[in-house]
Amino acid sequence: MGRYILRRLLSVIPTLIGVTLVIFLFQRLIPGDPAVAMLGERATEENIARIREQFGLDRPSFLDRDALAEGDLAGFFDSQYSRYFGRLMRFDLGESIHRRIPVAETLKERFPATLELSLLSMSIALLIGIPAGIASASKRNTALDGVTMVGSLIGVSMPIFWLGIMEIMLFSVFLKWLPTGGRLPTGVEIQSITNLLLLDSLLTGNFAGFVAALKHIILPAVALATIPAAIITRMTRSSMLDVLQEDYIRTATAKGLSLKVVLFRHALKNAFLPVITIIGLQAGSLLAGAVLTETIFSWPGIGKWVYDSILGRDYPIVQGVTLLIAIIFLFVNLVVDLSYAILDPRISLE
């Protein structure tokens, strides 16, 4: 077990280095001179020089063979990538081109909004997906099963940006029940503790603030939860169906145990392993989906920020956020793998 965990932890390191490499290579994709592309055609010489210096664009990408030919071993390793990597090691993600604010600083400010949205969406997805999957599997080939399966297929096929727009159209433009976007209406203040507004407002006993925050978060959360909910439903159903065919389930039923006990005590425990993997994978697509959802609902998280940065060609921000999301995704899946090993003793024996 210990060895398995260690091996799994070590296996993340080369992948992480690969990820930084991919993100570093992004800026090679920019057509033309990256410094000019970043600043626009009318940039002054001075600014271009500043960007070149800041990104080390005057240095070679990986290794400097000219320095080596002159006998300079340290200069050989002084390259764009090694500088980039060194900055990353110091948690320095560069700074925004337009606002000249460190990316990491804004990230700290904006990340809680995305985290709150993702957590709520995942909770909604789990609350819908797991019961629906269990019900569908236990009432196989009934109308309920059919409706659930068709519903989950539609959910999987749903373009969430379209769903978000339709939600705004219905609930905000026509019915005027809910706000079209943002995180809080102007005038409402919530004392920040964790920066998760729903939690903070509850902790400070600010009920009006809680309702206001809830009204703002509910539409984007539902849009973002659609695809994970559908996928979790399908996975829970098929995993439960697999388990329900096992001999020990037949034995349990033959013993005269009630359906409830068989389903929840015997079947669910074993059916849950593949579902956990899927939940881990969905965490990544939630963060990716946040780019679309936050854009539609003007949610002040990292997704909306990425969208604005793409439009503004603020490349360091796109690089920084993509890196952060990839790292989170990697670690969520690491945790899933490790929890798998704890839940299923057979894994670590392999």
């Binding site: 063979r65 990425v306 796109v318």
Partner: protein, 409 residues
């Protein structure tokens, strides 16, 4: 020959059913599956309408403008003032029905090309990785692999010292390692010293011509390469390298990587196709590899190996046909995902360049005048995306049931 024929004749009473191929069988199961047929019909309708519209119904997006007919709701009957607008018009007075039909050509094309890219590259990589992971490479395959490996690794010292011929020297070293392994089998112990020493020499001596520091660095690199080349690596290493690269691509959540790539490349349909295609490669590589590895354990592959069939014959006659069904299913579902990702790119303004019609871009456009209450400008392009994606998903589900009755629940 005569004997077997006789036997089959004898069995005729027994085998009442005529011979049917797997594919015909699967087709019959597919036709019998109602939801799959709905999916198939939806898919065919979308493909036909998009193709026919592109070739037989002219549309010039650049001159399509009519401010007089701005934001009209759906109009089913023509009156004196307004034409028929089945889906209404957008803020530039363009007919949304027409743009939705024509947009299909762009949206579906992105999906098809992207999936072809991921299928081709990922499929071939996975096929080779899985095959050589479970079946030993023969002399010539090993020879080619090691020569290429030596050449690729040799590029590093060659680049550092600006001496291209070093790469060729290392390619020869790689080839030598295979020959050594085959013909000088008795002296296995020595090669752990011989090859690193040779490698260091091959790199350091030419490096000396450039400078002492270059010789030092090249020597160290050459030593390491020599160590790597000292024993011919099997298919396992190849498979490992391929799968590690796939892991790196997979560690970016779904279309985020595609969005990032296109954000840097700049918008455009073709760039979107490539980005979505590249991002999809690992899925097919993993699937193909695991399918190949399970097939190569089967008796018929072992038998063909035992009777001495060539590797290429084994690969194309026995392995490839038997891994097709999971790949076909995945490709169908992958099409659904690719269309979704393409629409997402279009929505973010990274897909088709306006005024070219594309479903995602149309949505991104109409989203900007949402408060005007023009629901039709939002509803129909989105519905087109959802229905086409749903069609491919339904078809994929049905294909899985039809092609692999064993896993049918």
């Amino acid at each position: 020959m005569e004997e077997t024929k006789f036997e089959i004749n004898g069995l005729e009473d027994f085998a009442v059913r005529e011979h049917r191929s797997l594919w015909i069988d699967a087709w019959r199961r597919l036709v019998a599956n109602r939801t799959a047929m709905v999916g198939l019909i939806v898919v065919v309708l979308f493909l036909l309408s998009a193709t026919f519209a592109h070739f037989f119904w002219d549309y010039e997006p650049k001159i399509d403008l009519d401010y007089g007919a701005k934001l009209l709701p759906p109009q089913l009957i023509a009156t004196e003032e307004v034409d028929i607008h089945l889906f209404g018009t957008d803020k530039l007075g363009r007919d949304i029905f027409r743009r939705t039909i024509h947009g299909g050509w762009n949206s579906l094309r992105v999906g098809l090309v992207a999936v072809s890219i991921s299928l081709l590259v990922g499929g071939i990589l996975g096929l080779l990785a899985g095959f050589f992971e479970s079946i030993h490479m023969n002399f010539w395959e090993s020879f080619i692999l090691m020569t290429l490996l030596g050449f690729a690794l040799g590029m590093l010292p060659a680049w550092i010292a600006r001496q291209f011929f070093q790469a060729i020297l290392f390619a020869l070293l790689g080839a030598g390692s295979v020959v050594f392994d085959r013909y000088l089998n008795g002296k296995k112990k020595h090669r752990l010293y011989i090859f690193p020493a040779l490698g260091a020499m091959l790199a350091a001596l030419p490096g000396l011509m450039v400078g002492p520091m270059v010789a030092l660095v090249c020597g160290v690199v050459g030593l390491l390469i020599g160590l790597l080349l000292s024993k011919p690596v099997g298919g396992e290493l190849f498979s490992n390298i391929v799968m590690r690269i796939m892991d790196i691509i997979l560690s970016f959540p779904s279309y985020l990587l595609a969005i990032a790539i296109v954000a840097f490349l700049g918008p455009g349909l073709e760039k979107g196709m490539i980005a979505i295609g590249v991002v999809g490669i690992p899925v097919y590589a993993r699937l193909a590899r695991s399918a190949v590895m399970s097939v190569t354990q089967k008796e018929y592959v072992l038998a063909s190996h035992a009777v001495g069939e060539s590797h290429s014959r084994m690969l194309f006659r026995h392995v490839l046909p038997n891994i097709l069904s999971p790949i076909i299913v995945q490709a169908t579902m992958g099409l659904a995902n690719a269309i979704l990702s393409a629409a997402a790119l279009g929505f973010l303004g990274l897909g088709a360049i306006p005024p070219e019609p594309e479903w995602g871009a149309m949505l991104g456009d109409s989203y900007k005048y949402l408060s005007s209450g023009a629901w039709w400008a939002v509803l129909f392009p989105g519905l087109a995306i959802m229905l086409s994606v749903l069609g491919f998903n339904l078809l994929g589900d049905g294909l899985r049931d039809a092609l692999d009755p064993k896993i049918r629940l």
